[in-house]
Amino acid sequence: MSEPSSPSNKVLGVLSWLWVGVPFTYGVYELAVKIPALFAN
């Protein structure tokens, strides 16, 4: 029970991590683009 054992379970796993991972990546990207200004001067 600890690991996905069926194809549908694996698909659900991928989709659920994408569901939270995509917005989080967007947030990290928006934040990361501001950091270079810190070292510009």
Partner: protein, 459 residues
Amino acid sequence: MQSVGFLSRDRIVADVGWSRWLVPPAALSIHLAIGSVYAWSVFKLPLHETLKASGLQSALPFTFGIVILGISAAVFGTAVEKRGPRWAMFVAATCFCSGLCVAAFAAEIGQMWLIIVGYGVIGGIGLGIGYISPVSTLMKWFPDRPGMATGFAIMGFGGGALIASPWSSQLMKWFGTDRQGLAATFLAMGAVYAVFMTVGVLLVRLPPPEWEPAVVRTAAPKSPHAAGPDRTANEAIKTPQFWLLWVVLCFNVTAGIGILERAAPIYRDYFPHAPSKAALTAAAAGFVAMLSLANSLGRIIWSSASDAVGRKNMYRLYLGVGAVGYLVLIVAQNASKPLFLVVCILLLSFYGAGFATVPAYLRDLFGYQEVGAIHGRLLTAWSTAGVLGPVIVNAIADNRIAAGVVGPDRYRWSFAIMVVLLLIALACNELIRTPQPPISVAAETDARKSATVSAVEEG
């Protein structure tokens, strides 16, 4: 006190084949949404310009939100344990999104007090219930790595602001910042978060009774936790360990807020020289962004490390190195920008890690039985720190500014107070011992353990 039907605990016991790795995304669906409260500052200027709200008034939805978070987590913690994570996530989503809808209506009719009620009070109840909703479930699915499991969820709370800050700014660009534009922004956020959080409600599962992951069954025993039987929330709050940990969390959070609360002004006071005013503003924004990232990543990295190093040792690191870090800021001042940045990154990563590691610390001390409810009661420390931290930093800094002090000296006294608070918290952490069960219970437990050992040896 059982919830019925779709939301009940019985309906969410996992079937054979269900992966425990589906539970962290369920938790993140809730925490990434409610963590948007940390991005509230993007609404302050529009509220000031459109509704003529003062600086204090426009900060109140956030302040109320954090205070109500702690209170509702404490009040509803036992109900969350008894009714289960799906019920808790559903109630959290309902309250949080309803709060945003009330704020939208309030913005439309131009009533600041109703925004405070909607976002701060109704939404704040959702924050508290949502914050603790997945904690005990995650630790039951990951008994071998409770620090990592709760680190995932609580990193999401830090990450929520990373998403909400640019997204809500973009929404206000599309809809405008007049009353209708603010109302549309709050409404869009409420609708999108309702869908986003619903996935968590649908996805969350409880492990079957007596379930253990294969790695625990075959390789190693569960990490040690409370001696004797698990404690209820009411039993836990009568122990000195609970209150020592309350002080540890409260002062660790207060110390983190010491920098977080005035991050941009602190940077400008430490490094005021820049080619232009715009470059200085951009650099200060970059500093704030870097601290947000450190706050979020510290939650998963340090909390995961606690599974190997031990909870008490990690808090020694957060508090001891944190105190040294503030001393470095006082002594070195602005002599070295790289040193300043490294110290601030460490301090903010320890701030986030303090939140993320504490549920596993509670499990070590009091067991699984009501760890979510105990965690809820402990979060009143956060509410206290949410008031204490800004008061210390702002009052002292404002006083120094009024006295004509410039540069890093403006923060010398507030940082010195943070050192003292961290050292007190370090002493409290040293005093924490695993609570011993009553003698009669201990004898019974020893007898059970002996019987188990005999059975294993015979088997």
